[in-house]
C-alpha cells in the first residue's frame, strides 16, 4: 500500500522538481581518458569557480593524458595555455579533483551535507555523451558510512564521476561503482563517495 501511495505521489513531486534537476545537467562535463589504445569516458561535476570533481578509477596515475568536454555549455572549458591538471586524487575513496585554469563556472554545484532517511529520493546524472544527454535516474538511499553512500539508484557505464543529487538538486555524492551479486548478476545498488570526503582529499 505504501508503495502504491508512493507511486502516485512521487511522480507529482518529481514533476515539480523537473526544472531544477534538468538544469543541473549543465553542471556535468565529460572527461576522456586513454587506456590500452581505447578512449574511455567518465563524467565530472563542476564545483567552485574552476574545479571539477570526478572518480579516480579513470586515471591510472596523476599525470594521465585526459581531455574535458562540455557539450551542454560548450564555451565553459576555456582554451587557455595552462592545461587542466589533477589537483588531488584518492584511489581508496575513488575521488579526484581537477583544476581547470581560466574557467569561471556559472552552473557549478552546491555541496550538501544533509542527513538522509530511507524514504529520501536521490538522483544520478551521468556523462552527457555516454549516457545519452545526461540521463537522470532516480533511486532511494539505503545506508551510509563515514565516507560512502549506498543507494539503489541505477547507474551504468559513463555515470562514474557523475553527480548524485538530493531532492533540492544539491550535490551529495559522486557515483563510483555498481554492486553486482556474482551468482545471479543481481544489481545490489550503487556506491558513491560522499562530498564530505572531498574536503579531506583537498587537505
Amino acid at each position: 500500500m505504501k508503495r502504491i501511495i508512493l507511486l502516485l505521489i512521487v511522480p507529482i513531486l518529481l514533476l515539480s522538481n523537473n526544472k531544477i534537476i534538468m538544469e543541473k545537467r549543465k553542471t556535468i562535463v565529460t572527461i576522456f581518458t586513454e587506456e590500452a589504445g581505447k578512449t574511455k569516458l567518465v563524467a565530472g561535476v563542476k564545483f567552485g569557480t574552476n574545479k571539477l570533481i570526478t572518480c579516480a578509477h579513470s586515471f591510472l596515475n596523476k599525470h594521465d593524458n585526459f581531455a574535458i568536454i562540455d557539450t551542454l555549455v560548450p564555451d565553459s572549458i576555456p582554451k587557455s595555455i595552462d592545461k587542466p591538471k589533477i589537483l588531488a586524487i584518492n584511489y581508496k575513496k575513488d575521488i579526484a579533483i581537477i583544476l581547470v585554469p581560466g574557467a569561471n563556472w556559472k552552473n557549478s554545484s552546491k555541496l550538501s551535507k544533509l542527513k538522509f532517511t530511507k524514504d529520501d529520493l536521490i538522483y544520478a546524472i551521468g556523462s552527457p555523451i555516454g549516457k545519452q544527454g545526461g540521463l537522470i535516474t532516480v533511486g532511494k538511499f539505503i545506508k551510509e558510512n563515514s565516507w560512502r553512500l549506498h543507494s539503489d539508484v541505477l547507474i551504468d557505464h559513463g555515470n562514474s564521476g557523475g553527480a548524485i543529487l538530493d531532492k533540492n538538486g544539491d550535490l551529495i555524492a559522486i557515483s563510483n561503482k555498481t554492486i553486482i551479486l556474482k551468482a545471479t548478476r543481481e544489481n545490489l545498488g550503487t556506491y558513491a563517495t560522499k562530498i564530505s570526503s572531498i574536503y579531506k582529499v583537498m587537505e
Binding site: K38, T39, K40, L121, I129, G130, I180
Partner: protein, 468 residues
C-alpha cells in the same frame, strides 16, 4: 604457567580464529562483484551482408558427404535389391512387436533387461516409466540452464572434434567419454548404416543403463519436449544419488550420452546448432517429409532433389544480415550484434564492397562495413569529430584524447568547412543537440520517472503489470 597459557591463547587466535575470519571475509567478497563504470567511447567494426548466400563450404563438410554417401548407397540398393531402410524398418517392427506382445514398450524392455543383465534388477524393483509430473518438478530448477555464448563456442569445438577436425583437449575428453559408452564416431556411423556393425550399447541401448542426474534427464525434455522423454526413457533410483536411466532406442541413447559427456548447457547448444543446420539445409519439416515421400517412390529422384535443395539453400537463397534478424543470428555473432546496433541507428556506414563474386553472375553478395557505437549520441559526436579532424572511416578507434583537446563546438556557418574553419558540421551539430534533448527529455518524462521509481523499489514484473 600463566605466560604459557597466554601464549597458547595467542597461538589459538593466530592459527584458528584469524584465518577463519579472513576466510569468512573472503567468502563474502567472492560473492559480490564491484563494477567500475567506465564507458568506452571508441567504436567497433560492425559487418553485414546482403545478396545470395553463395556458401559452398557445406560441400566439404563431413556430415554432408556422409549423408550424400548414405543416400546414394540407399538409392543403389533400392534399385538393385533390399535397401538399408527396409532392414532397419524390419528391425524396428520386430522391437515393436515384442513390445506389443508384452503389453507395453516399457514392459518389454524391462523384461528383456531383467533376463539379459543382472544390472537392471535391484531392491527397488523394475524400471519405471517417466511421468509428466516427474519432469515438471525437475524442470522448475532448469530456468538458469540456458546456454550462453561460451557454451555455443564449446559446442562448435566438440562437434568438430567429434568429426576428427582440430586438436582440442575438451573435444578429446568429450570423444573419450562418448567412446566409453559406445558412442564413438565409427560406432555412430555404423549405427546409421547398419545396426549390426555398431557397439553393443547402440544395438541394444535398453541393456545398458546410463547414470544420470534428474537435471540431465530434464534438460533433454527442455530441448525435445516432455513427450519425447516420456516415450523414450525409463528409470529407477537404486542409490538415491543418480538415476539409472535406460534409453529405449538408439536415438534417445545418443541424446542422453551427449548430455552426460558435454554437460547440460553445451548439449543444449549442440541440439540448437543441429536443428539450425537441419532447417537451413533441408528447408524445414515440410520439405523433409516431401523429400522422404519422393525418395520412397523414386530413390534416385530423392537423392537428386536433396542435392538441388542443398544447392539452393546454401548457394542461391537470399541472405540479408543487415535487415533480417534471423539471417543475422544464423550468420555469426558479429553480424547479429551489428544488426541490433543498426536497428537503433548506432552505426555509421564506413565502406561497401563485393563480399562474394561469381565469375558468371558478377557480384552476388554485397558487404557493408560499419563503425558502431554504444550510444546514438556517441555516434553523432564521432561523425562530427571525424569531419572536423578530417579523418576518414578506415578505423573506428582513431580519435585520441589529444584530438579531443582541440575540437570546437561552434556550429559551422554557411560556406564554412569543418576541418578548415575548426567548427562542428552544421547538420551534425543540430542532430547532436536534438539527440541530447530527446534522450534527456525521455529520461525525465513522467512515464520514465514512474518506471524508475518502480525499478528502484524493486517491485516484481507481475506487480508492475498490475499497477499499469
Amino acid at each position: 604457567m600463566s605466560i604459557y597459557f597466554k601464549k597458547l591463547i595467542s597461538l589459538f587466535l593466530i592459527v584458528i580464529i584469524i584465518p577463519t575470519q579472513i576466510f569468512a571475509k573472503n567468502n563474502i567478497s567472492h560473492e559480490i562483484e564491484i563494477e567500475n563504470t567506465l564507458h568506452i567511447f571508441s567504436g567497433w567494426e560492425g559487418k553485414c551482408v546482403s545478396g545470395k548466400k553463395w556458401d559452398s563450404s557445406y560441400m566439404s563438410d563431413p556430415m554432408t558427404i556422409m549423408s550424400y554417401a548414405m543416400m546414394a548407397y540407399n538409392s543403389y540398393t533400392q534399385v538393385n535389391g533390399t535397401s538399408l531402410a527396409d532392414e532397419y524398418g524390419a528391425w524396428s517392427e520386430g522391437v515393436s512387436e515384442g513390445a506389443a506382445a508384452s503389453g507395453s514398450t516399457g514392459q518389454a524392455m524391462t523384461n528383456a533387461s531383467s533376463s539379459s543383465s543382472s544390472a537392471f534388477s535391484n531392491s527397488n524393483g523394475d524400471f519405471l516409466g517417466i511421468t509428466k509430473m516427474d519432469i515438471f518438478i525437475v524442470r522448475t530448477a532448469m530456468v538458469l540452464a540456458a546456454p550462453e555464448e561460451s557454451d555455443y563456442d564449446l559446442a562448435d569445438r566438440l562437434m568438430k572434434g567429434y568429426l576428427g577436425q582440430g586438436d582440442d583437449t575438451a573435444a578429446q575428453a568429450y570423444n573419450t567419454c562418448m567412446a566409453s559408452i559406445g558412442l564413438s564416431f565409427p560406432n555412430m556411423l555404423g549405427w546409421s548404416m547398419d545396426e549390426n556393425s555398431t557397439s553393443e550399447n547402440l544395438k541394444a541401448p535398453y541393456e545398458h543403463p546410463l547414470r544420470m542426474t534428474t537435471e540431465q534427464l530434464a534438460s533433454i525434455a527442455t530441448v525435445f519436449g516432455e513427450d519425447y522423454v516420456i516415450e523414450n526413457y525409463m528409470y529407477n533410483t537404486e542409490d538415491n544419488i543418480l538415476l539409472n536411466v535406460i534409453a529405449l532406442n538408439g536415438h534417445s541413447y545418443i541424446k542422453a550420452g551427449e548430455v552426460i559427456c558435454a554437460g547440460i548447457k553445451v548439449s543444449k547448444a549442440m541440439a540448437h546448432k543441429n536443428s539450425k543446420s537441419n532447417s537451413a539445409s533441408g528447408g524445414g519439416k515440410g520439405m523433409a517429409i516431401a523429400m522422404m515421400a519422393v525418395s520412397m517412390i523414386c530413390p534416385v529422384c530423392g537423392f537428386v532433389l536433396k542435392v538441388v535443395m542443398d544447392l539452393y539453400s546454401n548457394m542461391l537463397a537470399s541472405i540479408n544480415t543487415c535487415d533480417n534478424e534471423q539471417d543475422a543470428m544464423e550468420h555469426s555473432m558479429l553480424h547479429y550484434k551489428t544488426h541490433k546496433f543498426l536497428s537503433h541507428d548506432q552505426c555509421h556506414l564506413a565502406d561497401t564492397y563485393c563480399d562474394k563474386e561469381s565469375s558468371w553472375l558478377g557480384c552476388v553478395r554485397k558487404g557493408y562495413d560499419y563503425c558502431c557505437y554504444d550510444q546514438v549520441t556517441t555516434k553523432i559526436f564521432a561523425e562530427g569529430l571525424k569531419a572536423q579532424l578530417n579523418k576518414n572511416w578506415d578505423s573506428c578507434v582513431d580519435i585520441t584524447v589529444n584530438d579531443l583537446k582541440d575540437i570546437s563546438f561552434r556550429s559551422c556557418r554557411e560556406g564554412e568547412i569543418a576541418h578548415i574553419n575548426k567548427c562542428f558540421p552544421m547538420g551534425k551539430y543540430d542532430e547532436f543537440q536534438k539527440a541530447l534533448f530527446k534522450q534527456a527529455t525521455k529520461g525525465i518524462s513522467i512515464e520514465g520517472l514512474t518506471e524508475q521509481v518502480i525499478n528502484s523499489m524493486a517491485i516484481d514484473t507481475d506487480h508492475k503489470k498490475k499497477e499499469k
